[in-house]
């Protein structure tokens, strides 16, 4: 059977890719890649720590995300999608200015999921919040509910989508934490880009693994979610906001 052979090689190749190949691109070694037939489980919760002190005045993370996931705009800023963006904040008291990337925070209690009428917005077992575009009706209630403006509505026809990041007019989309890469045992494109660029402002990893790099970083210094007043226990945390 040509198929099973094909599949076998696919799996083998993937496992090898996850473990041995592409070294040096990874800030945190993931324990191992799940094999394709294995479902994501609650044993893991993927998270991101963004160190604003290291975050430069650049946007390689944004560019990397756009290239990876193919969310090109039409030069219409109000309706063009943005899965991740750079925001500059100023302290009202001290005038201190800082720059940080904002993306879907992969909340543990996601308001977008609570309000979605069809269940299209959902949280995967491993904490990644996604939109199932197959059942999204485009009501935009999730966009009303998200405190971080993390979501975009696809306002026009799409072409040349990536096979692993389908997107289409009339549905809502947002950062997937590069779920297709994570499933393959790799880190999100933004983290990879930031790391490669030498800034190393982002750490990705498993929040449930006590020995993961991200947990060591989190234990070593202060961090906070955006809008801590909302108590959403976000998967993305910031240091030095």
């Amino acid at each position: 059977m040509s198929l099973s052979r094909r599949e076998f090689i696919g799996i083998g190749g993937g496992a090898i890719a996850g473990i041995t190949l592409a070294p040096g691109l990874r800030l945190v070694e993931l324990a191992r890649a799940r094999s394709p037939e294995e479902a994501a489980t609650q044993m893991q919760r993927w998270g991101l720590l963004i160190d604003i002190g290291r975050c430069q005045d650049c946007d390689v993370c944004v560019t990397a995300c756009r290239t990876e996931n193919g969310w090109y705009g039409h030069n219409r800023p109000a309706t063009d999608p943005q899965w991740i963006r750079k925001v500059t904040l100023k302290d009202n008291q001290t005038g201190y200015v800082e720059s940080l990337p904002v993306l879907c925070q992969h909340c543990e209690e996601p308001p977008c999921v609570d309000v979605c009428p069809t269940g299209a917005s959902f949280k995967r077992a491993d904490g990644i919040v996604l939109v199932d575009k197959h059942i999204c009706i485009g009501c935009r209630y999730c966009m009303m509910a998200c405190p971080y403006k993390a979501r975009s509505f696809v306002h026009e026809d799409t072409i040349n989508q990536k096979s692993y990041a389908p997107r289409g007019k009339g549905t809502v989309e947002s950062c997937t934490l590069c779920v297709h890469r994570v499933d393959a045992g790799k880190i999100p494109a933004c983290v990879e880009a930031c790391t490669k660029d030498g800034n190393q402002a982002m750490v990705f990893g498993d929040l449930k693994d006590p020995n993961s790099g991200i947990n060591k970083h989190l234990a070593a210094g202060p961090s906070t979610p955006l809008r801590p007043d909302l108590n959403l226990n976000t998967g993305v945390r910031y240091r030095g906001v």
Partner: protein
């Protein structure tokens, strides 16, 4: 009063067809606008990633709220046992159905994927207040339809009272549900308040009755039927009370928000420095939708039917303004990313008042919803006896004595 007599609209005059044609044209224009929006995608509208709900939602929510309010007249008769309102009940039920249909049509046609309506009906997330609303709306159709049937079928008349009671409770839930759509948005300062739901109920009383009055006066007059001063006066006074109650709730809502320091930003935005939204609030919602109608309804001006119709229409306009301020103003005001920090730069309009101007297709779609509601009501009045033969003083109130 023994038995009210009902009769279909003749529906053969040129005037009838003119009305039907006009309303039909408005409806079709709305449909065309929706097709245009779906074909090109939402970027051709004024809506964006900042203002995700726009003018269609203003009309849709208004119509849905008004629909539950239109049922009130029937509820007064069946639940509170006021005989005077009995002959008014059928029209009340009818308008409740058609207004809801109009509102839902607008809501659905504005979806990113209206073709997936079936998905909305088959996949439910029971945590979502939106999903509950879908059930509430569907149930409302069924219950009001049954209620109407019990009112119209003599053998079932006995059951109309419990049915009316049930419909009344259902409609209270429905409006609470509609209000809660906004009340559940914790992230947005304008919405996250418990006053939202009761405020929506009171608003529904006013909007529903305003539309009811216009339709009643117009259809009685155009079909050459008498509408006596007793019924007219009661409905007029009732509308006045409802409009005053809306103003009261709006005051409470803003006072509550002013009490909470965190909300001073949004309050200042709506009440003082929000540009179009501030104008829309004071001129549209308070003056046109509240103060002017109150003056007309409670003064000698209220003797004039024409002026009362005008007042009702002003209430409708004020209601639309109120929805605009609530829905669009509430989104335009920026959300903070971090308490105590201000956004000074962003490629995604963080920290800025989002700009929005309604586009033509959006407005046409919204007005189309009103057209759909009215064309359905007009047509239904022709095929079934919804309208009482007479609402003259003698018919309405046997104890009435000409002064």
């Amino acid at each position: 009063m023994a038995h009210a007599h009902y009769r279909n609209l003749e529906g053969r005059s040129l005037g009838f067809y003119a009305v039907l044609g006009l309303l039909g044209a408005i409806t079709f224009a709305g449909l065309g606008a929706a097709l245009y929006m779906e074909h090109h995608g939402h970027w051709v509208t004024g809506m964006s990633n900042q203002i995700v709900w726009g003018t269609p939602h203003v009309f849709a929510v208004f119509l849905i709220v008004a629909a539950s309010g239109a049922l009130n007249v029937a509820s007064i008769a069946s639940v509170f046992g006021r005989q005077l309102y009995k002959p008014l009940s059928r029209l009340s039920g009818l308008l409740a159905l058609t207004l809801l249909a109009g509102g839902l049509a607008v809501l659905v046609l504005d979806l990113g994927r209206p073709d997936r309506l079936i998905v909305a009906m088959t996949y439910y997330n029971f945590k979502s207040i939106f999903a509950w609303n879908i059930l509430l709306y569907t149930g409302f159709f069924a219950i009001v339809a049954v209620y109407l049937w019990m009112m119209m079928e003599r053998r079932m008349n006995d059951y109309s009272k419990p049915a009316g009671m049930f419909a009344f409770l259902w409609r209270l839930t429905l409006t609470t549900g509609t209000g809660s759509i906004f009340g559940f948005l914790v992230a947005r300062d304008a919405y996250d308040t418990a006053v939202m739901a009761p405020m929506f109920i009171v608003m529904s009383f006013a909007y529903g009755l305003a539309i009811y009055l216009v339709v009643l006066i117009a259809s009685m007059r155009w079909s050459g039927r008498e509408l006596g001063d007793v019924v007219f006066g009661r409905l007029r006074n009732l509308l006045g009370v409802f409009v005053a109650a809306v103003l009261y709730f709006v005051t409470v809502y803003h006072l509550t928000n002013l009490y909470i320091t965190q909300r001073h930003g949004i309050e200042g935005f709506i009440l003082l420095n929000g540009g179009a939204y501030t104008k829309m609030f004071w001129l549209g919602q308070v003056l046109i939708g509240g103060a002017v109608p109150l003056v007309i309804l409670f003064s000698r001006l209220g003797q004039s039917r024409a002026l009362v119709v005008l007042a009702s229409m002003l209430v409708v306009l004020g209601g639309l303004a109120q929805m605009y301020v609530t829905i669009i103003g509430g989104q335009a005001y920026p959300m903070p990313l971090m308490p105590g920090k201000e956004v000074v730069a962003s490629s995604f309009f963080d920290g800025m008042v989002a700009s929005y101007s309604p586009s033509l297709p959006e407005v046409v779609l919204g007005v189309g919803g009103i057209g759909l509601a009215l064309v359905m009501a007009t047509f239904a009045m022709k095929v079934l006896p919804f309208l009482p033969q007479s609402l003259s003083d003698a018919d309405a109130d046997p104890h009435y004595k000409a002064a």
